[in-house]
Symmetry: C2
Amino acid sequence: MAEADHSTGRALANGKTRVDFQTEPARYRHWKLKVDGDVATLLMDVDEKGALFEGYELKLNSYDLGVDIELADALDRLRFEYPQVRAVVLRSAKPRVFSAGANIRMLAGATHAHKVNFCKFTNETRNGIEDFSENSGVATICAINGTAAGGGYELALASDYIMLVDDGTAAVSLPELPLLAVLPGTGGLTRVSDKRKVRRDHADVFCTTEEGVKGKRAVEWRLVDEVVPGSKFDEAIAGRARERAAKSNRGTASQGIKLAPLARTFTADAIEYGSLSVEFDRAARLATITLRGPASPPPASADAMTALGSEFWPLKLARELDDAILNIRLNELEVAAIVFKSSGDPAQVLAYDKFLDANKDHWLAREIRHLWKRVLKRVDLTSRSLVTLIEPGSCFAGTLAELVFASDRSYMLIGTRGGDNKPPAAMMLGDCNFGPYPMSNGLTRLACRFLANPADVDRAKAEIGKALDAEAAQELGLITFALDDIDWDDEVRVFLEERASFSPDGLTGMEANLRFAGPETMESKIFARLTAWQNWIFQRPNAIGEEGALKRYGTGQKPVFDTKRV
Amino acid sequence: MAEADHSTGRALANGKTRVDFQTEPARYRHWKLKVDGDVATLLMDVDEKGALFEGYELKLNSYDLGVDIELADALDRLRFEYPQVRAVVLRSAKPRVFSAGANIRMLAGATHAHKVNFCKFTNETRNGIEDFSENSGVATICAINGTAAGGGYELALASDYIMLVDDGTAAVSLPELPLLAVLPGTGGLTRVSDKRKVRRDHADVFCTTEEGVKGKRAVEWRLVDEVVPGSKFDEAIAGRARERAAKSNRGTASQGIKLAPLARTFTADAIEYGSLSVEFDRAARLATITLRGPASPPPASADAMTALGSEFWPLKLARELDDAILNIRLNELEVAAIVFKSSGDPAQVLAYDKFLDANKDHWLAREIRHLWKRVLKRVDLTSRSLVTLIEPGSCFAGTLAELVFASDRSYMLIGTRGGDNKPPAAMMLGDCNFGPYPMSNGLTRLACRFLANPADVDRAKAEIGKALDAEAAQELGLITFALDDIDWDDEVRVFLEERASFSPDGLTGMEANLRFAGPETMESKIFARLTAWQNWIFQRPNAIGEEGALKRYGTGQKPVFDTKRV
């Protein structure tokens, strides 16, 4: 076992023991978020001394997970706090360098698990940039003023429009293979092939050329959209931003809401949020996430929703669930399975779904649904076994029912439980189970579930709004097992024990395959084909061995490779 | 470097030093091929003592690469020697066992490279079974008379129709995860999800249940198509075979051709075939495959083609190229790059393509084109850098031009070469570059190449039949670089040296991503998502470490896992 004990292999630079995904603009060390009318600028200005972990410096706008956590937060601010923004300019505050990409010292010293988690989160952030453009109408223009290498160029690739200064030296590159013997880890190869549609032999040349491609060739090969002389760069950027902003369909709201810091209480074996709890049973390698339904009916109007701000139940719960999942991914590597439970009134959950649906053209309702979509995708891509337990008192309805369909298995209790006076569990379907929350493969979870017989989707649709007991849910194919009180405890216990007994790696590979039947999209290709190959290479001695390229980078010693082609 | 020196980690049981892919029915040790009218039976009867390598026995119809080489050969015989066959029954000669799958002792002792190559070849064989059904009209019915575990069930999954005896014990299973901490390596998870469309939670239960699923539940969960009582099994199989044969569109030819053994001469650094040569430059880690165009014009008629049998140039060359590629894959692991060259008259190559096209409804012409399609797919999936050098005297036209488009890069010489009186190189396009040879992603190589601008495909199509010099080919985007005689040697040398200097693993991952832009099919998902995850897991200590499941299987000792989820 080559990995250090700590999940990341390194001590956190801030003296804490847990990676925290919560931040806010006032605390940013690496980004500046400026809003000027309908155009925002995300200025990358990485603080060399601001590394998340000890042992490396973030030179030349290179980044680590800490830098990306701020970027992800900034994007959330743009979504919720600045609805007037209609285009984003992404640029660097450093002279002659856009970004050197993921920090190599960080990668060289990180555990395999950290490298995998780092790539996954940064991929999700970049997919979020594309989602912001496609679904909220806010395009990103990337202005490259110098070197954009590796992850630096991959960040550009997530933008809609790439501008490169034409000064004879500024270049884009993916030097991972020639320099480090690994692959670009944040979608680079897939976006070069499938988004930019670079011809494969050009892509081959590009990805094996350490210094990258600049000037006219970068445009001819479709690597960037435009090269601009340095003297006209600012003006051209501003022009492109205005054009994009003018074409945006984002609406005309001028006033956002404030994303308040999440209220969280950490104890040794639990985290308490406002609308959910996480409990850890570390001996059993389980995390149980209990989501709580709304305490009151939905507000009377969109204005009332806006007035509630980040206290509005669906927004609050989505943000808390996102944080809970990320915490488990990064800080709780021993957790084998995540158990979803819920408590509340399913009809109230559906009432909120209906409220969001009725206001789906309101910018805030729209952003909340897109947030749920992205959080649910994050759940799909979480390398832990996922199971939902549907018990009396639960509220797996509508949006929350998506967790049932995101789970590898679900168990629903038939009837009541001895010694408990709660009525039998009921699931409820809503319109939102049939459209607004597609998986990364482009299908709804129910369409993916019922790939064999699309008529089963229609059959389920006919039950929208009805309280479905365990037998009905079973008959509709919505759950895996319906069990009565006599069998429940034993069956669930045996399943969870079994899950904890299997090889964690085998489960990750199996779940990554079984969760995503059907078509592939660019996004799913990134997480499947590219990520899986990247993970493979991240274990190979040619990259991470003592004589491997990642370990020897910067030492002046050449790597020594096992020359067998596999 | 955990791998043994020899590419497979083991000595061959036959005392040779090279895995040979050539065999013939008279030499089979594991399969019996019986033809009765329009129904063939492939009877699996693995010889325990007939392992390809030393150190394990092939009990319970378990298999190794040697068993699969015979299966692949038998399928080729059915294609070419038995055109009257319209349905195939796949069954076991062992009582109460269909197949225990890939031999575990073999896997536990094999190098990583061998495991990867073994899975790739067996995947290609199973894809060939499906291609035989889809494109030649010969369906396979799999009759499972007992245990079909792991690779045994995966073989069934490649069939069109799965019948399971209903005797209270016969079951299908994918016990790889619970038993061995690896994934089913031959498409199992993908076919369960995407071909059989098993609901994901049922698939989760199935793939974590060591003993598998039997009887009625196997049908309900779509794992098999039919369960049949033992007393009626033979009769039911015969009935299904008759039904399928009656529905076949294979045509009515009654007389096949004989696939003669390939004539090959091995020397230390070369292999000479009838219509191609392979030369190894082991210091440079290169294999150069030179394909020779036809020596004479195409035959006058389909009957004349049939009379030529396996001496017919396109068939002969396809078989030889296939053997040459497989030899490099398995026996020449140090080869970093395969260089394709050719010699002959491009117009003659096109004349043969036209002949095949004119006779495309003739069973033999059809099978030859499907063979080329499969060989070209094998090239696409070969984990070596691929480069085509188009020089004076070459004949990269039509079918052979596909090798240019299959290559990671191509170089074409402008004009003539000093000291050589051959006229300048010419490429030629034919109809076959626009349809009959799709890649595993379902696109032609040109459609995939020109994903950015489909009009470029039409532009190329307009040039069919014309001799294209280097500048013209360059302008059409058909080649990577056009170089004159002054630059040629240096540029090519530097490229090949550079390629040999890169990390072999990094190149494999990069090429696997850049070669397959665009859509995904079940086949491409198997080679991308599933294979990549499988390769990852095949390196993890939880599988292959001294305390891992694969190493400890059968020892009575439980595996010890690193319990971190990654």
